[in-house]
Symmetry: C2
Subunit: 218 residues, 2 copies
């Protein structure tokens, strides 16, 4: 069985490698794990010895099949718990991540099975992120940043890319939420900022930066 720390490393590698697509450097990993590169090297050796990651000295790490599978299970738990916290307990979407960071480590297959059922098998979490199924499979949907969507055309907010509490709070404040129907009504050439219509009811100005962190489908 994996330790709390090992699980967190696998999850971080999963995200940083973009689901296993590319190598992750020691420094990158140290940054996200809020630790020192020397500690990362130690852990890289340990996870490598357990055949969870591929580690090449001086070049970086990436997930092996079993490591990826473990990471996906932790992400599944994380996102199911976030969904529970929002849908059942009335948390706001900016409050859940920190708590889910703890809950994702609870070890009980039965618990996750029953939680999934209780939530009626959700496919996305409160941030629009897909929830891996019991076998770790993720249903990918093609989404693009609002910043790259054509003007005047309607689209639906599907997910946030950056899920930081401050960004989420800002979105709530200006009235943007998952599944909102929006369209770009004006695009400022100068700085790329947008005027966005939400549900044909309300208009707000958002920065290019913000628009790049809002994922939409047509």
């Amino acid at each position: 069985m994996l330790s709390y720390t090992e699980e967190n490393y696998l999850k971080a590698i999963y995200h940083l490698s973009n689901a296993g697509e590319r190598l992750v450097s020691t420094n990158e990993l140290a940054e996200t794990m809020q630790t020192k590169p020397a500690s990362v090297t130690d852990m890289a050796k340990k996870l490598s010895a357990k055949n969870l990651i591929a580690y090449e000295k001086y070049y970086g790490v990436n997930l092996l099949k079993s490591g990826k599978q473990e990471a996906l299970q932790i992400i599944r738990k994380h996102r199911l718990w976030e969904t529970f916290l929002v849908d059942k307990l009335g948390f706001t979407w900016d409050e859940v991540h920190e708590v889910a960071e703890q809950l994702e480590h609870i070890q009980s297959g039965l618990l996750i099975e029953k939680l999934d059922k209780f939530l009626e098998y959700p496919t996305v979490d409160p941030h629009g992120h897909p929830i891996p199924d019991p076998s770790g499979k993720i249903k990918e949907v093609k989404q693009i940043p609002l910043a790259e969507f054509p003007v005047y055309k309607k689209c639906t907010i599907r997910a946030v890319k950056n899920g930081s509490p401050s960004f989420l709070q800002y979105l709530s404040k200006i009235g943007i939420y998952i599944d909102a129907s929006v369209s770009i009504v004006d695009k400022v050439e100068f700085d790329g900022s947008l005027e966005v219509s939400i549900d044909n009811k309300k208009r707000v100005f958002i920065s290019r930066e913000a628009a790049q962190n809002l994922m939409v489908t047509g």
Copy 2:
């Protein structure tokens, strides 16, 4: 903040000392913590240094006010989670303890507050054990073992004393549950075993041992 291990020690001391009533010996504590006396001594020193317990060398430990308060908060969380698992997720009462042992360590005041509300402020857990209120207060109710209750008189099952999965499964199997209305219809002088009527519908024989672990009110 307390470590996972420190929390478990405080909880164990709480239970073994009967809520702080009497001293707990090193060996006792080692037994329930599934560890060696030498380790207990180390932890006793640490918790004592943090002013959570009173520790007198060679004589034992007991909770100080702050240690008792910490223990009660952990017990509150444990019992709220057990209630959640049974009432909302459909766990059986013999499946919940192990999972609650993990969940009780999740650190989030907001989570417990919201969970409590979601469960509609329960006062007892699935085993009939009282849930401390947010300030740690427990509503004590006078209960006696079924073994000591007068024959022919009706009483209500309120709690189990021993909550081991095998005992709980046995009780389910013979039809005994929390809030069941029972009466002793026969008492065997020889071994103290009882014939019990459940809800005026069903009769079962139980050992004196079992009857001593069923707490009832008249």
